[in-house]
Amino acid sequence: MSLVRRIEEAVVQGARSLAALIEATEFPHVEGRSVTFVFQGEAQEVTLQHWIHGLPGSLPFRRLRHSDTWVLQLDVPPRSRMEYKIGVSMFGRGQLVRDPLNKHTARDPFGANSVVYGDGYSPPEWSLEDPEARKGTIEDRHVDSKVFGDWRPIKVYRPARFRQTRRYPLLVVHDGFDYLGFANLQTILDNLIHRHEIPPLIAILTQSSDRMHEYAADPRQADFLVKDLVPQMEQILPLVREPSARAVMGASFGAVSSLAVAWQHPGFFGKLLLQSGSFVFTEIGEHDRGPMFDAVVKFVNEFRRAPGRPAESVFISCGVYESLIYYNRSLVPLLQETGMTVRFREAHDGHNWENWRDRLREGLSYLFPGPLWLVYE
């Protein structure tokens, strides 16, 4: 008997049966591709709100036999992740809430969503704290920026067993504070370095207070990284001063900024890690993404007309549930034609931090392969 049928029967049998069934079952309930969501509460309408491109943004729950129990069944592919909230409407007033029956949440700078794991998905073990892994350190600093005429807060990640006498590769991270908070970046760097999957490296985590403008291919941001940040860091940190040992990365607008930096200063960064880049372009007419995208579209259009050779290698990832998947796929052949080494990875996931977290092992080890096969401590 299907789970929905069992819930319906429990509703008929009464509150105790229903409570027992709900108590004994994990929700959302995943069975192969089928996922069952349940919501209990007074409402006139209950919907599942998600951010999967191509699906209606609001999927209605079905009320069971005039009760306050609502169900929804969805087809969710194996090994996928879907973030969502539940919309509860009553007398014309709606409220978005996290699923009270779901223990899994995903945080981002705006709060948190509920998240359902498709069959076979679990957060990768290399993204979780490993007591065996030696820990790197994070130091708060700031960079004086001639370009912006102010100073910028940064965080410096030094790997475990850091030595001033050794020279390290450099990873510059857009939205770096968010990568720490929402994508476990420090834990992941610690783990990958501990496992020799990447070499010990120094990461500079940057954060903009006006990212929607500064990351939208603003030439000042490119100059800030190339003329302010990296030279100042090279003065105080033992960095390998070669493009092949420098990477810049980011997600969403951060990926746009990373590509724009590499395009405006070709060859300065040898490696790019671009996650769910907002690479919106128009071949004909105007775009429909709103004024916030004007500068992005202008840059991407120009880039597509004359890409040059911005770096040596690039790792690109994007979720197939994102509206940006088309733009990211379109970028791949273009980058390949420049002669860059390109790896593109799609995931059954959306535009969110855990998607970006889950791709970091492959992306970082692709750009910075570690001595995994040769070191046995």
Binding site: L192, E362, L372, L374, V375, Y376, E377
Partner: protein, 311 residues
């Protein structure tokens, strides 16, 4: 061949070098020599080892000696870099052919049944793999032989000076301990000075990459790498000072021992050598004629199992 050696798993959490020294040099209170060249620039950071063994330790500083030689002898540095590039190329070419042969062999092992035709194909596929491995070992040996013939490293003044000093330091030690780390760095730097020949027949205790270096062949392995294929490969011949054994350090992390076919293939490919899992706490002793192991030390069997080495 050594008359006594002990191979150990990693020493980070479960430190058992000291009891191993007590086994091999209980009544000999002379200092212990240490090679930690596999730690590279951290070579001198041996305080934990010193605290643990409670004996006088002479760190031979093999890594630092080579760095000094490189500063003085740029010609040798260039030649060694060139050899390094050649070895990488030889390894890449070997890997191409190896990967082509691995998947069909895996598939043959996966196929159900045990009839004579399947058995014959399995046998021949394994022989082919072993042939590819042996040819690779021979090619790498050729690279080293050509390097040594052309550059005569042991006759160079810069090397001789360090060798003389090493010889002196090794004169009065009870045993030699070789730590893990970067296997290629460790192997090539030990080889440049011929440290093991200098040490002669005295006991050796080695762990992780140090243990790999003592074996006849060095097998690199990882079943879940983030990039590339998960195909174990032979790096080159080791010093061959302990017989019939392939040392597999950190096997819990690197080897998918739950996959019966994987274990089968590993064990059969390197047979008759014993594939020994050197995880933390593992210890296997060589007394000059036979192996014995502590009960928690495991090996891979040709049937696809992991079992205690036994006595």
């Amino acid at each position: 061949m050594l008359s006594s050696a002990i191979l150990l798993g990693p020493q980070r959490h479960v430190r058992i070098v000291q009891p191993a020294i007590d086994t091999l040099a209980a009544t000999d209170d002379r200092p212990v020599a240490l090679v930690s060249a596999g730690w590279e620039e951290r070579e001198a950071e041996d305080h934990e080892f010193r605290d643990h063994v409670q004996r006088t330790v002479i760190n031979l500083q093999v890594w630092a000696r080579v760095e000094r030689i490189f500063e003085r002898d740029r010609e040798l540095l260039t030649a060694m870099r060139h050899r390094h590039d050649t070895l990488r190329r030889v390894q890449e070419l070997y890997r191409l052919r190896l990967q082509g042969a691995m998947e069909p062999t895996r598939e043959l092992l996966r196929r159900p049944g045990d009839d004579q035709w399947l058995a014959a194909e399995r046998h021949d596929a394994l022989v082919m793999l072993q042939g590819i491995d042996s040819q690779h070992v021979a090619r790498v040996a050729q690279v080293h032989a050509e390097f040594e013939q052309r550059w005569l490293p042991t006759e160079r003044t810069s090397v001789q000076r360090e060798r003389r000093d090493l010889q002196k330091k090794l004169t009065d030690v009870s045993c030699l301990c070789i730590a893990g780390g970067h296997i290629a760095v460790l192997l090539h730097r030990l080889r440049l000075f011929d440290v093991l020949a200098m040490h002669g027949d005295r006991p050796v205790i080695a762990w992780s990459a140090g243990a790999m270096a003592l074996c006849e062949r060095i097998v690199l392995f990882h079943d879940t790498p983030p990039q590339g294929s998960a195909c174990a490969e032979v790096m080159e011949a080791g010093f061959g000072l302990v017989p019939d054994l392939v040392a597999l350090p950190h096997a819990k992390m690197r080897l998918d021992a739950a996959d019966e076919r994987n274990v089968q293939l590993f064990a059969r490919r390197f047979a008759p050598a014993l594939c020994v899992l050197l995880d933390e706490g593992a210890r296997i002793d060589w007394n000059g004629s036979r192996w014995s192991a502590v009960p928690t030390t495991n090996r891979l069997t040709e049937d696809g199992w992991v079992e205690e080495v036994g006595v």
